[in-house]
């Protein structure tokens, strides 16, 4: 599904360019959930931006394929239309644009790129109501401008709302658990788990085991200094929780 090979990427331009991803290899087959853990500044968010095509991030080596297609040359919206979705660590506020308008515009834009019919207003409304109810978002919240005035936890729930509406093929969750209270963590995890599917892959970036209690990963990778240092099963996350990165990293190096 998602195959990353020996990826090297820099941030910044010209003389300021700084290599953050330094030869990263990762393979997430369809149907699996992989967790990425790693110290602050390791390059986790950077990896998510490189994969989704953000400006200012330059790939200088290696490759990344989604279902066999090279995604690194695509525009961000083309990657989105191919089914790549990023739940942002820091969701962005868009003043004046109601959530419903935003998501419907996005969905229709994606469908158009894929050569599909636009979704009807009635159909969209029906689905959005159902999804919002699952995530405990009120209809009033969906009328508000995207992320404006939303609490930290609400923003994260809104990311998952968008994800469930867009039904992407490959999900990257960047610290979706940060800022969520205990109940919201459960609500959000239920939403994510609902999307688990033999055709779908997920990359879950997190610092904490508690998310992985809810969204059980098939594999856990440790990203440090721009590389995957070590990988293992769910037990690796438990070990990290106990021993910290220092213990695990000194062993891996």
């Amino acid at each position: 599904m998602l195959k990353i090979e020996n990826l090297v990427a820099t941030v910044g331009e010209g003389e300021d360019a700084k290599e953050i991803i330094k030869g990263l290899t990762l393979d997430v087959p369809a149907g699996e959930v992989h967790a990425i853990m790693g110290p602050n500044g390791a390059g986790k968010s950077t990896l998510s931006y490189v994969l989704t095509g953000r400006d200012g991030y330059e790939v200088t080596g290696g490759s990344a394929e989604l279902n066999g297609a090279d995604i690194l040359d695509m525009e961000p919206e083309e990657r989105a239309a191919k089914g790549l979705f990023l739940s942002f660590q820091y969701p962005v506020e868009i003043p004046g644009v109601p959530v419903m308008t935003f998501v419907r515009t996005a969905l229709n834009a994606q469908r158009k790129l894929r050569g599909e019919e636009e979704v009807s207003a009635a159909e969209f409304l029906k689905k959005s109501r159902a999804v919002a109810a699952k995530l405990k978002l009120t209809p009033e919240m969906l009328k508000r401008p995207v992320n404006v005035g939303f609490s930290g936890g609400e923003k994260k729930r809104l990311e998952i709302f968008q994800m469930m509406m867009l039904e992407p093929k490959f999900l990257i969750l960047d610290e979706t658990d940060s800022g969520l209270d205990i109940d919201a963590l459960k609500t959000v995890s239920d939403g994510v788990n609902e999307l688990r599917d033999p055709e779908r892959g997920m990359l879950v970036i997190t610092h904490y085991q508690r998310l992985l209690d809810h969204i059980q990963p098939d594999k856990v990778h440790v990203l440090a200094n721009g590389r995957i240092i070590t990988s293992g099963g769910p037990e690796l996350a438990l070990r990290l929780e106990k021993e910290g990165y220092d213990g695990v990293l000194s062993e891996a190096v």
């Binding site: 331009e13 989704t52 095509g53 953000r54 400006d55 200012g56 525009e75 961000p76 919206e77 989105a80 239309a81 979705f85 990023l86 942002f88 969701p91 962005v92 506020e93 868009i94 003043p95 004046g96 644009v97 308008t101 935003f102 998501v103 515009t105 996005a106 969905l107 834009a109 994606q110 790129l113 401008p145 968008q162 867009l166």
Partner: protein, 517 residues
């Protein structure tokens, strides 16, 4: 209006926003302007230039009464002694007032017996502006067309709009005359009104914008060729939106529209002014005057969507727009709102304003101004609080892209008798790229300590974070910009009548095309 379908594939620049904005702005070529076509029909011109004879020629052409000619001549004399203002923040080559035509009319005359008599080119013009044929017939004054078109419109749920089309100087025709007449509403070209309702015109003309007001207004008084007249009688709520499409067509024709709208006691009217002009190499001067009078408990809503040719990517050509628009809340509890969406013109100089004379009267100004390429805009509003407990509200949204420059200039003035006056002003500027500018110049003058004046101003750059967020969700760059811009201007768009709001949104998109690289 623009059909909003310029070829999206023409402009395609990618990569970093900032450094490429310059290139993208350069790519804003004439082909992006979808209303840029001109109609090849024979025109009847007044001789080129400006002198007393031209003023007499125009007046004679319009079969005007003597008092009207006198009024024009008085203005002309005054104009000769005035000097062009140079204080505003716009730069343009000197205008040669002798090098323009001051009168142009379609040669065939304004009315047609059947649609077959209408020159094909004129019909084409209307088609490109998106006016349906049935309505074009009515606009063009084809006999018998009005009734059937009115019927056709009544069948639909769409809000109805009566249109008074100005094809260059002559108002070609008016729609819905009959129904409006039944309601007692007078809606016609000002030349007709001068002939048919001289007392009304004489009573109000020049009472809001006096002849001596400013250089361009005085010029307009002398040579105005046509425009619109509206009178809504006491207690009448005008049964439909009234609308005018202004078109400038003949090369080198100065345009001097004159609009006069009067809402008598307790009356209500909503008026839409739409403007598109075909592209030209020469700069076209436009100096309109709009006067609004609201008597006791009356309300006038005046909305403009303006899409004049801004000039090519080097800043050549385009319309010079020097307009005087003023509303007089003459009666107690009267209300006037100006809503405008400005995306065109090479140079714009425009301050719709309100004189809040009546006690408890309310003035509102909602504005969206977009400048791109090398456009310059100096706009704003003036709110003059004269009456007690008068209230005004100003919401201005400026969007600058490319190498354009815009200035918001607002004046809130509270006079001695305006006890308990209140104003709220909010000016937001959005910059797209690094080579454009936005300036906010608020002036406040108050003679009262109890006046409550609030001012908020923000300047933001179109954020890369927002753009990426939207693109990650599947929007392409242009859609993303359009969405963000629509979000930015939402408060103002919501003030527009429904059908105008949609048009305004697509116009914003067209005018910002290629502004982000």
């Amino acid at each position: 209006m623009a059909d909003g379908n310029p070829s999206a594939d023409e402009v395609k620049v990618k990569d970093g926003i900032d450094q490429n904005t310059v290139d993208a702005a350069r790519a804003l070529e004439s082909k992006n302007y979808s209303a840029g076509f001109s109609t090849e029909i024979e025109q009847e011109f007044a001789p080129k230039g400006l002198n007393e004879d031209i003023v007499r020629f125009i007046s004679a052409k319009k079969e005007e009464p003597e008092w009207m000619l006198e009024w024009r001549l008085k203005a002309f004399e005054r104009w000769l002694q005035m000097e062009e203002p140079d204080w505003s923040n716009v730069h343009y080559p000197p205008i040669d007032y002798q090098d323009a035509y001051y009168y142009a009319a379609p040669k065939k005359g304004a009315k047609y017996e059947s649609i077959d008599d209408v020159p094909e080119e004129i019909l084409e013009t209307y088609k490109k502006l998106g006016i349906p044929l049935k309505e074009a017939e009515v606009l063009l004054g084809v006999e018998g067309a009005a009734d059937s078109a009115a019927d056709a419109r009544t069948d639909t749920d769409k809000p109805r709009v009566a249109v008074d089309a100005v094809f260059d100087s002559v108002s070609v025709a008016t729609t819905f005359q009959k129904e409006l007449k039944e309601a007692g509403v007078i809606f016609m070209s000002i030349s007709e009104a001068i002939r048919e309702y001289p007392e009304l015109v004489q009573k109000y003309l020049g009472t809001v914008v006096p002849q001596s007001d400013n250089y361009f207004a005085t010029l307009n008084c002398a040579v105005f060729s046509d425009g619109t007249f509206v009178y809504v009688p006491k207690g009448v709520r005008c049964p439909m939106e009234l609308s005018t499409y202004f078109r400038m067509n003949a090369q080198g024709t100065g345009q001097f529209e004159r609009t006069l709208i009067i809402a008598d006691e307790g009356a209500y009217v909503s008026y839409l002014e739409g403007c598109t002009a075909p592209m030209r190499d020469e700069n076209q001067l436009h100096a309109a005057v709009v006067e609004l009078v609201a008597l006791e408990d009356a309300e006038i809503k005046y909305s403009t969507v303006q899409n004049w040719w801004p000039g090519d990517e080097e800043g050549k050509g385009g319309v010079y727009n020097f307009v005087t628009k003023r509303g007089d809340c003459r009666g107690d509890r009267s209300k006037i709102s100006w809503t405008q969406v400005e995306t065109g013109s090479a140079v714009t100089w425009k301050y719709p304003s309100c004189i809040l004379r009546g006690d408890d009267s309310v003035g509102e100004f909602y504005s969206i101004a977009v400048t791109n390429g090398r456009q310059q805009a100096d706009t704003g509003t003036k709110m003059l609080h004269l009456g007690k407990r008068t209230k005004s509200r100003i919401i201005s949204k400026g969007i600058s892209a490319g190498n354009s420059d815009q200035t918001y200039r607002g004046l809130v003035s509270v006079h001695k008798k305006a006890e308990g006056a209140r104003n709220f002003t909010q000016c937001d500027s959005l910059l797209i790229g690094d080579t454009c500018g936005a300036h906010t110049v608020p002036y406040v003058e108050t003679r009262r300590a109890d006046a409550q004046l609030e001012h908020e101003a923000t300047t933001t750059k179109l954020s890369e974070d927002q753009l990426f967020y939207a693109r990650q969700r599947g929007l392409d760059e242009e859609q993303a910009v359009a969405l963000l811009v629509n979000g930015f201007v939402r408060d103002v768009i919501q003030q527009l009548p429904m059908e105008f709001a949609v048009e305004a949104q697509s116009l914003l998109q067209v005018s910002l095309e290629g502004s982000v690289g």
